[in-house]
């Protein structure tokens, strides 16, 4: 049984390592794109540092989100939990809030939005026509 537990831990370790490597690749591509945009270079050790930091942050975030969801009596994490995790930083939470509104707008009420948009466009066309008329 002890060996089973050990093997389980080993598996978990390798799984975690694999995830960390995939995460690092993602981080590097994001960071490199960002650095390119502002015309800077990033040295390799710093890249590794930042991706490790982000990975630790992701793990901490997972813990926070689980606790928030549990506190809300839920088993599933929703967007409010994620926004709540950034509540100490007003800028960050408002950024997340607007991103979440974008996501919400994209999915469930896309039809309604499209209708609204077409209506607006119609109005705009009418306005243009009106201006053109005289």
């Amino acid at each position: 049984m002890a060996s089973d537990v050990e093997r389980g831990e080993e598996d978990e370790e390798s799984a975690s390592e694999l995830l960390r490597d995939r995460f690092r690749l993602c981080t590097i591509s994001i960071a490199e794109a960002e650095a390119k945009q502002i015309g800077m270079e990033v040295s390799q050790p710093i890249m590794a540092c930042i991706s490790d930091l982000a990975f630790k942050y992701a793990q901490q975030l997972a813990k926070d989100l689980e606790l928030f969801a549990q506190h809300g009596g839920r088993k599933s994490v929703n967007m409010e939990d994620v926004i709540l995790s950034a509540h100490r930083n007003d800028h960050l939470s408002s950024l997340l809030r607007s991103f979440s509104n974008d996501l919400k707008a994209k999915e469930p009420q896309s039809e309604r939005k499209r209708k609204k948009n077409t209506k607006k466009e119609d109005k705009a066309v009418a306005d243009v026509l009106h201006i053109v008329d005289p």
């Binding site: 978990e12 993602c26 960002e34 800077m40 710093i46 930042i50 975030l61 950034a86 930083n89 996501l103």
Partner: protein, 102 residues
């Protein structure tokens, strides 16, 4: 910029790993003191936390902002020192405030 973000599936996998680990720990603690909560004998699977798709996308955005913020702040310091490469000293300078902000 929009397309360059984390893969939600990857983030899901990382979150699940953490939640599985915490779930296993909780179970171990419950075994050592069985009188605590013997009622719900649900399996570990069903108790595991999950995340909905939008929450994962939002988490990806949060992590992306963390990375870009780290780069941008370090770049500001590097620029002030007249360097075009971000080095360890630049990261060191911005790290405390970065960690406080996230």
């Amino acid at each position: 910029m929009e397309e360059n973000t984390f893969d939600p599936d990857l983030i899901r996998a990382i979150f699940r790993l953490v939640w599985e680990r915490r779930g296993a720990e909780r179970e171990k603690n419950q075994l050592s003191e069985p009188e605590a909560e013997a009622g719900p004998s649900t399996s570990k699977r069903s108790r595991l936390t999950s995340a909905n798709a939008n929450a994962l996308k939002l988490s990806c955005e949060l992590l992306r902002v963390f990375v870009t913020e780290a780069i941008q702040r370090a770049a500001t310091i590097a620029e002030a020192e007249g360097s075009v490469k971000i080095e360890a000293t630049h990261l060191e300078r911005i790290l405390p405030q970065l960690l406080l902000d996230f």
